[in-house]
Structures are given as structure tokens and as C-alpha cells.
């Protein structure tokens, strides 16, 4: 019993899946809603990926959709064009889906390395302009490459992703990001974010830590791309525009930059919200833009105050852990009290 309380994720996570699954089986959630949930899963993965760079390392990537595009197209190339996965028996399909996803991740990671290497060794905000340019260049390359459908888009990608697999990859991504943050690698990145000069003089090879985090982030974005491609079955270069990248930025900052839980909730809620509030359609991006400014100005810790879910068992602080309900970490309560005492 005690063990269970300590490891509540073993119950919570499968439970979430079973609930969604049962709702789907009993037709309470129709296919459209399920698809929204799957896309929310993709956005959660993307936001986690962005959090590694913008939240944990304090660098500024604003063209992350570019890595997603690479992952999507590479994986689709793998599963549709190189191997015709649609014609395979189901088990083989699963294997090739996983292989395609890994190929997408590796493809994105390679680009992450090529871009991060020259840029991240510099001090300053060069990453922003370089990732922005990268996102646009990838799109123009896709647009002139007939092998991937050029400007017409790539159709007929086998539908290999499912609610189950997206759920699995969301969980794996969260696990990886949690482990990253709570390790010497993550602490190195947090140190760079807080004070790069001090980090350097504490023996942290800043360029190496930044590139590691960036490449990992690109890999995860590539995975999200593969999930996306194999859910929607259709890719178009303009999907991965700058607007797409800013969507992820909004999810991340609204949820709470630096906070794993915040970026999960931000991505999920802001993906679902426009579907619920239909009138938002043409005002969606106006609201998102305004929201971004307001959050940065008045609530830099994000809508959820930088709290972390207890089941993540995070030891290292992304941003301030402030807890007030049992759902959230206990230890942080002490921190708050201690901090209040200190400031008296």
C-alpha cells in the first residue's frame, strides 16, 4: 500500500488510458474527439521537447515546427515510400511504425546537431534567428522536392499511429524529460539558464550541455512529427510554418516554462479549447497572442504557477515549486514556508 502511494504513477497513467479507451469503445467519445486527443498528445510531446530548450536550458528556439517537419517527412518516407507498410500484416506494421518513428527522431536530431553546433557555442540570442530560418528553409526544401509530394503535399501515409501508441510515446517523453531534468545533465542546463558565466566557471562545458539538450529536444520533436504524420495520414509543408512553432511557444509559456506538468497541461488545454469554443476560430490566434504577452508580463510562471505533479517526483527545480493541493508535491510546501521565513 505504501509502495503504491509512493509510486502512484503506476496506477494513474494506465487509469487515464483505460478511461479514454472505455469512453471510445462505448462511443461516448466519437472519432473526432479521439483525434483531437491524439493531436493533443502530439502537442504535449512537442511542448515537452521545447521545454528542454527554452525552459530547462534557457535558450530560445522559435522554429521548432521545423524539427517536427523533418520527423514527419522522414518517418512518412520510411513507412510509405521506402517500405510500403500499408500492405504489411499488423505486427510488421507496428514494428515498421516504431522504426519509422525512430528514423524520424534521428533525422530531426541530425538537423538539430547541424544547427545547434555552430549556434549554441555563441553567447547571445542567435538560436532564435537560426531556428526561425531553419523552419522556413525546411519548408522551402520540401516544397521543391517531388519525392515527398513537393507543394502538393504527401498523401496516403499509412495510419499506423493509434491512441495507444501516442499515449505510450507521451509517457516515454515525459519520463525522459523528467529524468533529464533530475540529473547532472539537467542541472548543468539549469545552471546555464540561471547564470551562464557562473555555470562555465563551475566546470560546466556550456556548449556541450546546450547542444546535448538541443539535440535531444530535436529528437523528441521528430518523434512527435512521426506521430502526427501517421495520425493525419497527410502532410503539407505549410502545416509546419512559423505559426505552428508559435503555437508550441504559447502552449509552453501559458502552461509554465520550465515546468514539465505545466507544459503538459498547457498543450492539452489549449489544443482542446478552440474545439470547445467554436466561436474562437478566427480569434484563436489573436487570443493566443494576447495570452502570450499577458502571461509573460503578469504571470511568468505560467497558468499553473510552476507546480509539478507529485507523481513526477521531481527533485530538481525547473522553476519554483509551489504546491497547495495534495495532487502536487508535498516537499514543496516546506520550501515555501522556509522561503517565507527567510524573507521575513
Amino acid at each position: 500500500m505504501n509502495w503504491l502511494r509512493k509510486n502512484s504513477e503506476v496506477i494513474i497513467l494506465p487509469l487515464i488510458y483505460v478511461v479514454i479507451f472505455l469512453l471510445q469503445k462505448n462511443k461516448i467519445l466519437n472519432n473526432y474527439v479521439i483525434q483531437i486527443i491524439m493531436l493533443a498528445g502530439v502537442n504535449i510531446i512537442m511542448t515537452q521537447s521545447l521545454n528542454l530548450v527554452n525552459g530547462m536550458t534557457g535558450q530560445n528556439s522559435i522554429g521548432h515546427a521545423g524539427f517536427m517537419a523533418v520527423g514527419a517527412y522522414v518517418s512518412a518516407l520510411f513507412s510509405k515510400i521506402i517500405f510500403n507498410a500499408a500492405a504489411m500484416p499488423p505486427t510488421m506494421q507496428t514494428i515498421f511504425f516504431l522504426l519509422a518513428t525512430i528514423a524520424g527522431g534521428i533525422g530531426a536530431a541530425i538537423f538539430g546537431f547541424l544547427i545547434g553546433m555552430p549556434t549554441l557555442r555563441l553567447k547571445g540570442d542567435y538560436l532564435a534567428i537560426v531556428t526561425l530560418g531553419f523552419g522556413e528553409v525546411i519548408r522551402s526544401i520540401i516544397r521543391i522536392t517531388p519525392a515527398v509530394g513537393a507543394a502538393r503535399g504527401l498523401t496516403g501515409i499509412p495510419k499506423l499511429a493509434s491512441l495507444f501508441w501516442i499515449f505510450v510515446f507521451v509517457v516515454i517523453t515525459i519520463y525522459i524529460c523528467r529524468n533529464y531534468m533530475d540529473s547532472a545533465y539537467g542541472r548543468g542546463c539549469l545552471a546555464i539558464r540561471d547564470n551562464e558565466v557562473a555555470a562555465d566557471t563551475m566546470g560546466i562545458n556550456t556548449s556541450k550541455y546546450k547542444v546535448q539538450a538541443f539535440v535531444t529536444s530535436a529528437f523528441i520533436a521528430g518523434i512527435a512529427g512521426s506521430m502526427y504524420a501517421h495520425t493525419l495520414r497527410y502532410l503539407h509543408p505549410d502545416v509546419f510554418s512559423y505559426t505552428k512553432s508559435t503555437d508550441f511557444l504559447v502552449y509552453l509559456y501559458a502552461g509554465g516554462v520550465g515546468s514539465i506538468s505545466g507544459s503538459i497541461l498547457g498543450a492539452f488545454i489549449l489544443t482542446a479549447l478552440p474545439e470547445v469554443l467554436r466561436f474562437m476560430n478566427e480569434w484563436r490566434l489573436v487570443i493566443y497572442g494576447g495570452l502570450l504577452v499577458i502571461i509573460i508580463l503578469f504571470r511568468p510562471v505560467g497558468m499553473f504557477g510552476g507546480k509539478e505533479f507529485a507523481f513526477l517526483k521531481l527533485k530538481t527545480g525547473g522553476i519554483q515549486h509551489i504546491g497547495f493541493s495534495n495532487l502536487f508535491q508535498r516537499k514543496t510546501k516546506k520550501t515555501i514556508v522556509a522561503n517565507e521565513e527567510a524573507s521575513r
Binding site: 540570442d125 530560418g133 480569434w283 502570450l292 504577452v293
Partner: protein, 300 residues
């Protein structure tokens, strides 16, 4: 050869537009070390402002050069004040926060303005056709066909940039700008009103963006709410190539970008953006501070 000179003129003209836009990026960066991701939208607002002034007051008339200039300057002032307002509301409170915050705020501003303009009915999502401000005259120098308006735009841009250079080097506000870009705290101790200097910077930057928007729209007369995004990115790349923080660098970078883009587009138009991006990466590898920038040593 004729082709080359013609392309060079096109390139210089596009370059002057990039240069005017890049100056805004570089001035703002020089003073508050912030990359204003919404700067391209000042270009968009400027060209819409000019569009509305012309269609309200001078519908279907051909403007003389004096009125055209006046209309452009009016559009520039309106945009300049919007620029000042944006800084006051969205960026000023972030001055002492990590730089990444103000950059993200700027992305929010950009997202907001573009989509707000798209959502409100009297601007809307459909492209508008920009009126011809001046009748173009084509003339020949030997076998080379040239367009008067293009030449005028290049010359006008150079005049404007010279005026700006004069303002910055010779006037009080220019001196205050240079002081503030060296050390904000020290200059405020010396009695310089840093808020005023920053407002002036945004006014000038947004105004120049509006002028470049009018020049751009005069040649490519399609207005859309997102027109500032791509142009802004290219101008930003230009500013980095020239050495961000240095106005002469922005001008140089702008002309380089314009000429490269036109030359490459004449061969393969889809590649132009990609190549300018590759140029950026190469410059960052070889000379990260840009062509005219000085290496910065962070004071510890």
C-alpha cells in the same frame, strides 16, 4: 552584362528596403539588447496606414511626388507612435527580466497584431492592392532599361539613412542614444531620460519600417497581414550579418541580402531564402559578431 546591371538595380532596391527595416532591429538591439520579433509587423502596419490614407483622401488620383512623400511620412509617423505604444505596454515592464522574456513577448505582440488585423472586418484576411503612388517612367542608359521609381527609392533610402546617421552622430537625442546603448544605468545617472531615448528609438525604428513598407508595396503592390513576417526575418538576418547593434552594419547587410536574393532568384527563386540562411550560418561560424560588429567581451 545589361542583365547584370538591371538585376543589380533590382537588388539594390530590395536591399534598401531590407536596410531600412534592419536599422530598426539593430537600433532596438543596440539600446535594450532585445530582438523585436514584431518589428516586421511595423512594416505591415505602415503599408496599411499609407494604403488607408491614400484611399480615404486621394482615391483614384495620381499623386505628385510631394504628396506621395507626405503620405509616406504620415504613415511613418502613425506607425512610429504605434511602435512607441507597443514598447510602453509590452516591453518596458520586462526590461529587467531575462532577455528571452521580451523576445517571447514580441512574438506574442506579432501574433496578436497580425491576427487581430486579419480578424477585424475592415482589414480582413483578403489581400489589398496597394495604389501606385507615382507613375513609373522607364528610361534607357545605353541598352539598359531602368525604372525611375526604383532609382528614386534607392536614392531616397540612402538620403533617409544619411539623415538618420546625422541625427545619431550630431544631435542631442542621437548622442543620448549612443550613450544609452553603451551603458543604460550610467547614462541615466548622467541625467539622460532613458525612457525617452528608448521611445525615440522605437519611433524611429517603426517609422523606418513603415517607409520601407511603402517602398516595398509600391513595387509588389499586394498587402497582406503577414507580409511583414518574411521580410522582417530577412531584414533581421541582414542585421546579424552586418553586425547587430551597428547601423552601418544593418545597411551593409541589407544591401548584401537584397542583391544576393535577386541574383539567386533570377536563377532559382525557391532557393533565395535558403541561401541567405546559409550565408547567415557561415557568417556566424566565421565572424559571429557580424561583418562590421566588434567582438563583445561581457563584463564580469
Amino acid at each position: 552584362m545589361e542583365k547584370f546591371i538591371q538585376l543589380l538595380v533590382y537588388g539594390l532596391q530590395l536591399g534598401s528596403i531590407y536596410a531600412l527595416l534592419a536599422i530598426g532591429y539593430t537600433m532596438v538591439f543596440g539600446i535594450i539588447r532585445m530582438i523585436n520579433m514584431a518589428h516586421g509587423d511595423f512594416l505591415m502596419m505602415g503599408s496599411y496606414a499609407v494604403f488607408f490614407i491614400v484611399s480615404l483622401f486621394f482615391a483614384d488620383q495620381m499623386l505628385g511626388p510631394a504628396i506621395a512623400l507626405f503620405v509616406i511620412l504620415a504613415g511613418a509617423s502613425i506607425t512610429g507612435f504605434i511602435g512607441v505604444g507597443v514598447e510602453r505596454i509590452a516591453y518596458k515592464p520586462l526590461r529587467n527580466r531575462p532577455k528571452i522574456s521580451s523576445m517571447i513577448a514580441a512574438i506574442g505582440v506579432s501574433l496578436f497584431t497580425q491576427n487581430f488585423f486579419r480578424a477585424i472586418p475592415f482589414i480582413g484576411p483578403n489581400p489589398r492592392t496597394f495604389p501606385k503612388l507615382l507613375k513609373d517612367v522607364l528610361f534607357y542608359v545605353g541598352p539598359i532599361q531602368l525604372s525611375l521609381v526604383r532609382i528614386v527609392v534607392i536614392i531616397l533610402s540612402i538620403v533617409i539613412m544619411s539623415v538618420l546617421y546625422f541625427i545619431i552622430m550630431k544631435t542631442t537625442i542621437g548622442m543620448e542614444m549612443r550613450a544609452a546603448s553603451c551603458d543604460k544605468d550610467a547614462s541615466s545617472l548622467m541625467g539622460i531620460n532613458v525612457n525617452r531615448v528608448i521611445s525615440a528609438t522605437f519611433f524611429i525604428g517603426a517609422g523606418l519600417a513603415a517607409i520601407s513598407g511603402a517602398f516595398y508595396a509600391n513595387n509588389y503592390p499586394v498587402l497582406t497581414v503577414t507580409m511583414g513576417a518574411t521580410l522582417g526575418n530577412k531584414a533581421f538576418i541582414a542585421a546579424v550579418i552586418g553586425g547587430i547593434g551597428d547601423i552601418r552594419g544593418a545597411v551593409l547587410g541589407g544591401f548584401i541580402m537584397g542583391v544576393i536574393e535577386i541574383m539567386i532568384s533570377s536563377v532559382y527563386s525557391e532557393l533565395a531564402y535558403g541561401i541567405s540562411f546559409v550565408v547567415l550560418i557561415i557568417i556566424l561560424l566565421l565572424k559571429p559578431e557580424g561583418l562590421l560588429g566588434k567582438p563583445m567581451i561581457e563584463k564580469v
